[in-house]
Symmetry: C3
Subunit: 346 residues, 3 copies
């Protein structure tokens, strides 16, 4: 590791209170269980106290309330996991891309590319596109006509951005993501599907991260909008005219159907699905594997997952799922009969 | 917008009955709520009557039965949404690609490319491939050996078509789609998986549209077949030897397992899954999030989704799903006891 | 077909017992129903006996127990489907790639590429990467800095491997797969998400196959590990720090959340989902569409899928799913009342 810091240097840059030897040298971050002398680790949950007791880490980041949980050199922070994220970034800086346009890249006329931007091999940049300062465009990306990409945005290799879409500043897009393909807009006519041209755009705010092979479709008439600070994992489908509110986060394999409006600070667990034209309030948390079929107006957690069982047991139980209505009927009849018997009794 | 038309010109091209000023100039389509004077909008559902009453649109497309629902300049059509699709296409033509082969493209020997086709930068075209008239192949596409692509087909950037696959005419394939990768064919032998080479093809009919990052695997021995007019959204998995009947449509995140045969005019909602070796009749509609585990011989809608609830409520209910069989037993016992009590009573 | 063999030549290469004319010439494999005189087919399940009786195949592969089920020229094998896989490979060899680096490829400094490797057009290979003997890198692949790729590995066009990831020998990666993108690591801080840099790698063992558009994220601190012989279908998401045990196989659209540890010889059906931080024992089989929410310590099959019904029937039954808890209560009350009535009776 070329980037090493003493604890004193770390605290000088990132804040926090230092206890113990400020000259302790740190080369890398590590988990408590695997850390060595030149590593810094963090302690966030009492569940891991046993690992804290035995860790070989040279230093640890802890919350104020745990300041005496170890006597090692340590940094006290009000948010140890966020502090750890910052130390990790400090010790593992993203390699500065070399400014310039690779000779193999093809740049169409009227495209404007900042001198500080780095355009990789086999990149194609369409007419009238704008590429901001210090933008990194990895090998094989395709940037459509009139696309605008804000400063410090980073596109890993083989991202496609269709024409006229807008990306904010400090956006990260991972390989294989496709931004701005046509929404699934079809009119039915005499047994055939007629394509409805999709003339909206995708507009992506600042500080958004988009995972590998995720797809975000352009709007039909209006735009599809991903507000600032949204984090999308891999293989997510965002349909046309969806709006995702600021600072919402979605795990892998999620699907958001057309025109759904998701609030701010929402989370959707892996493979969660949200149907079209729904409104989801701010601060809603959708569990993994959950299908949301109606709008949600109250913050909170929502779930629809069916619990799993050993297959034989599932077979016995699942058979009844197709007869719940008659089960309910039979319970009602039993209640009537009991009432009748009790009445006669008295 | 360079493409503007008067209402009179629109009706002359697309048919329909014109009521009101034929000189009304239209620059773009828009929804009723956001339309301005130079926009044409459409009215299809009475639910939006209030927007029709207040729209600023210069003209509206309506069904015969609503011909007097507004007094604005208007076009009467038997299918307003299809008409709107056509007007949208008229006002937003797909840019004509410039014929020719980009100098950076690599074309292997014996490939035949129509003079009117447009081959983008960094495209690789394999030996013996045939590219039809006016085909557009976007930047970075890879066309395998002996692939055949019909006239007027459009491949957005970074599509891969493996060797020997066939695409019909007027097919649209969005970025990142992979057509013809090996099916998931494995033989088990002494605790290991042995790959079964996949020697079938993918055969795609005319007028098919394939969404971004969708994958369609080649057949094991026979072909995987997508019949004419099928529309597939993004991130769909079509396994080997599947056949999808003409004019069926599937929303994002759908999965179709190996050798399933889907009928004509079927629809599958988002994240619907159809297991392998099933037969689905024509005109079947599978709801979003539904898992189809058996063949379906009757047209109609089919659903398996579990309703969602607030998480705490779900916890209370879900616990019983693992005990439905004993619940059913207890109901049976109650019924016997009641019968017994009633018998003694009489 | 250029590759034809007599039955005698096949048995000489692949073993098995030959019954009938050793000079029978075989050009291709085929299913029993569609086979012709120059085809070899296989018979594995008695369900297909009628096809065996009527097949036009020139030869058939059968198990010892079925050795007299036909009188055609035939090969007796203890594992007919594995034998068929081997014959298929013999008759359909993967085309030997021409060694060498395509002139359009961009190879950064200090990359080491075996002379026998084949590097396609528009490939980008990062600094310090190692490419082994007879490796095939298809058009448009991006191989990150310091990536190592073992001998005889095959990357189809447009695969991305991020920096420092390791691929074993004889690995197959299909188009659009992304290996080593950042895991979804976020710390929450004052209503915003802070990215946790992902400094682990992806380490892939020998004989792994990875499907089209599948994504495997790099680890946060430690590595994501795919052990030898694992087979992953298309559009699968493997999150950071997952470990998948040797010879496990997963069908399309599966998702494995962060830090899950899957055992050896497991299978996951299509769209199965395994939540994060779980441990799944060896020899576990997860059914299609099943969500695994807890660790599984015993081998066997596990299922959570909700059975589908015609939509109207589903509506009637599904309504009760939100009231199972009160249904259970009512059954308990009925039982108490019955007991009471019976007690009074006696």
């Amino acid at each position: 590791m070329e980037h090493t810091f003493t604890l004193g240097e770390i605290v000088a840059r990132l804040g926090g209170e230092l206890l113990g030897d400020a000259h302790t040298r740190i080369e890398q971050v590590a988990a408590l269980e695997t850390a060595q002398a030149r590593n810094i680790s963090f302690f966030a949950t009492t569940r891991l106290k046993k690992h804290l007791d035995t860790t070989l880490a040279g230093a640890v980041i802890l919350h104020q309330k745990n300041r005496e949980a170890t006597q090692k050199p340590r940094i006290i922070s009000s948010n140890p996991s966020a502090y750890f994220a910052r130390v990790t970034a400090l010790l593992n800086p993203v390699e500065a891309a070399i400014p310039g346009i690779h000779p193999s890249a093809v740049v169409e006329e009227d495209a404007v590319i900042a001198d500080s931007a780095s355009i990789g091999p086999f990149v194609h940049i369409g007419r009238g596109a704008h590429i901001g300062e210090r933008v990194f465009v990895g090998a094989g990306c395709d940037i459509g006509d009139k696309v605008e990409i804000g400063d410090d945005t980073r596109l890993y290799p083989r991202v496609v951005v269709y024409f006229r879409c807008l990306l904010g500043k400090r956006v990260i897009v991972h390989s294989g993501a496709v931004i701005g393909a046509d929404g699934f807009g079809l009119a039915h006519e005499e047994g055939r599907w007629l394509k409805i041209p999709q003339i909206g755009r995708v507009v992506i705010g600042d500080d958004v991260e988009i995972g590998a092979n995720t797809t975000i479709d352009r709007g039909a008439l209006e735009d599809t909008v991903i507000e600032e600070g949204v984090k999308l994992d891999n293989l997510i489908q965002v349909a046309h005219n969806v709006r995702i509110g600021a600072h919402s986060a979605m795990a892998g394999c999620v699907g958001i159907a057309g025109s759904a409006r998701i609030g701010r600070n929402c989370t959707v667990g892996g493979a969660g699905m949200i149907l079209g034209h729904l409104e989801i309030a701010d601060n809603v948390s959708v569990s993994s594997g959950t299908l949301i079929t109606k709008s949600i107006s109250k913050p909170g957690a929502y779930t629809s997952a069916m619990p799993f069982s050993p297959h034989e047991q599932w077979l016995r139980n699942a058979a009844h799922l197709r007869h719940l209505d008659s089960m309910a009927d039979r319970i009602r009849q039993l209640e009537q009969k009991i009432t009748e018997l009790e009445r006669k009794k008295s």
